[in-house]
């Protein structure tokens, strides 16, 4: 797991790649969804993948956590090839990678407290209730929803569900955070709050983040670096300012 051997020079600084994807392809039947994807996520950075719906963004991050299996190419997380990992190795890897789903995916039949307890008791097999309660209160305070601890997910608004989903992911203290459309379906003010929360949590927990979005405001707030995806391939890379003035019509159309 410690075999992180890829070190790249970015703007003169040497950085470790925690996720490396080289020539990755993914097919659904005969349909090619990802065509030769190559990218690195470096330690401590916020990388945004920007693109319209149906371009293969969510498929990319689902491959990273092995929810989907890629067909060709190489995908390494912490230097380990994801394809072919044994069950125990995959489980260990997943505890280090947090995933916030588009719908937040809170467990409907459980209260907020039980949702947050679930990863601690089932993944870490923790039985120390003092530690569990302390961790729950700490993450809920972090996302500003300590008061909702005994609420059911059905009682929460879309923005609150996203915050609780983020808290549930952060409770395992992951090293990498993957966000699948974190601001989709939210009003502009709540979207901005969630984007700022992502930044705040990244600083607090020192995670490396990969944010999948089609929301340009979210990309501007959260992204250190942006990759633009179209038809299952990356067509541009750069900072928000660099891409804003891109001569490529497909890229510049996002910024209008």
């Amino acid at each position: 797991m410690e075999n992180i051997n890829t070190v790249r020079a970015i703007n003169g600084n040497h950085k470790e790649a925690v996720v490396q994807i080289k020539g990755m392809k993914k097919f659904f039947g005969k349909k090619k969804v990802l065509t030769n994807i190559t990218m690195d996520l470096f330690k401590g950075e916020n990388l945004v993948v920007l693109g319209k719906s149906g371009q293969g963004k969510s498929v990319t991050i689902k491959c990273i956590v092995a929810l989907l299996s890629h067909d060709e190419g190489s995908l390494k997380v912490f230097g380990q090839e994801v394809k072919g990992l044994k069950d125990d190795e995959l489980k260990l890897l997943r505890t280090k990678v947090g995933f916030l789903f588009q719908s937040a995916a809170l467990y409907d039949s459980m209260t907020v407290r039980e949702n947050l307890e679930f990863p601690l008791t089932r993944v870490l097999r923790s039985t120390d209730m003092d530690m569990i309660n302390q961790r729950i209160e700490e993450v809920l305070e972090g996302v500003g929803l300590l008061g909702a601890i005994d609420a059911m997910p059905s009682d929460l608004s879309g923005g609150m569900r996203k915050r609780i989903g983020l808290a549930r992911t952060l409770i395992l203290k992951p090293e990498i955070m993957l966000y699948d459309e974190p601001t989709t379906g939210l009003d502009p003010i709540t979207s901005r709050e969630i984007s700022e929360l992502i930044l705040e949590m990244q600083k607090k927990y020192k995670t490396s983040s990969l944010i999948i979005t089609h929301d340009i405001a979210c990309a501007e707030i959260t992204g250190d670096r942006i990759l633009v995806m179209n038809d299952g391939a990356f067509i541009a890379e750069g900072s928000y300012k660099e891409l804003e003035s891109s001569p490529n019509d497909l890229v510049s159309s996002f910024f209008k």
């Binding site: 489980k91 719908s103 995916a105 679930f118 993944v123």
Partner: protein, 254 residues
């Protein structure tokens, strides 16, 4: 034609893989006792009234329908034993299992299907938890335990229903009816019938979990999962019953 055969083989392979996942996860560390007890409550206790009423009416109607015919042959006194044997050997287990397929298998299929659609199962998986251990194992085991219990309860109520129907004309005392009913019964009637309800329970839980867990994306697939859970579980029950009857006639009644 080849495509259809491939689909059947693929589906069978997937079911076998799911079944082996279930058996492996029963013995893994961290059995979900709380979830198992909760499922026993939902599957067992919450089905008591439906199964109880069905059982009672089953015995009641069977008696009313058969009594005139037996009376014509002067064999009215055989009504209790006929009701007891037919309910305990065959009608009770099969009817109750079919009722439970409709109520329980569909509800498991719909619940897990909606969890799949709303990415809750994926969320469990990516957090490193084991959804099979938390969602599937307790549900199937609760079905295996509760379906025999529900069937025995329904059998008892069916005999009570038979007594009520027979006694409408005031022919039997309570004690006489039950003595006649139980005199005709042996353990070789009861044990195979309880044994087959264990398999019915497995079919109900397994099909419900498999259909829900493997439903497609989209809200429509929740309905499809619930519906195909009922249809497939009912079919399994009929097939398992045919096998059980053959085995029982070879080993128990020969």
């Amino acid at each position: 034609m080849t495509g259809k055969i491939n689909n059947v083989l693929e589906e069978t392979g997937n079911q076998m893989q799911f079944m082996s996942g279930f058996f492996k996860n029963i013995f893994r560390q961290g059995f979900e006792w709380n979830e198992f007890i909760r499922q026993c409550y939902i599957i067992g206790y919450k089905s008591f009234s439906l199964v109880g009423i069905t059982g009672f009416i089953l015995g009641f109607v069977l008696t009313l329908q058969s009594e005139p015919t037996l009376k014509a042959f002067g064999a009215e006194s055989f009504v209790p034993s006929m009701v007891a044997i037919s309910v305990i050997r065959e009608i009770g287990p099969v009817i109750i299992a079919l009722i439970c397929a409709g109520k329980i298998s569909s509800s498991i299929g719909a619940e897990l299907g909606s969890m799949k659609v709303s990415e809750q199962i994926d969320a469990m998986e990516v957090s490193g938890a084991n959804p099979m251990q938390y969602l599937v194992v307790p549900r199937i085991l609760a079905c295996i335990l509760m379906i025999p219990v529900l069937t025995l309860m329904a059998d008892t109520l069916a005999i009570l229903g038979g007594f009520t129907a027979s006694n409408l004309g005031g022919h039997f005392t309570f004690l006489l009816y039950f003595n006649k009913a139980f005199d005709a019964l042996t353990f070789s009637d009861l044990l195979p019938s309880v044994a087959k309800t264990v398999f019915f329970g497995f079919a109900i839980g397994f099909i419900g979990c498999y259909k829900g867990y493997n439903s497609n994306r989209g809200t429509e697939s929740v309905g499809v999962a619930a519906n195909s859970a009922v249809v497939n579980a009912s079919l399994w029950i009929i097939v398992l019953d045919a096998i059980a009857v053959q085995l029982t006639s070879i080993f128990a009644y020969s």
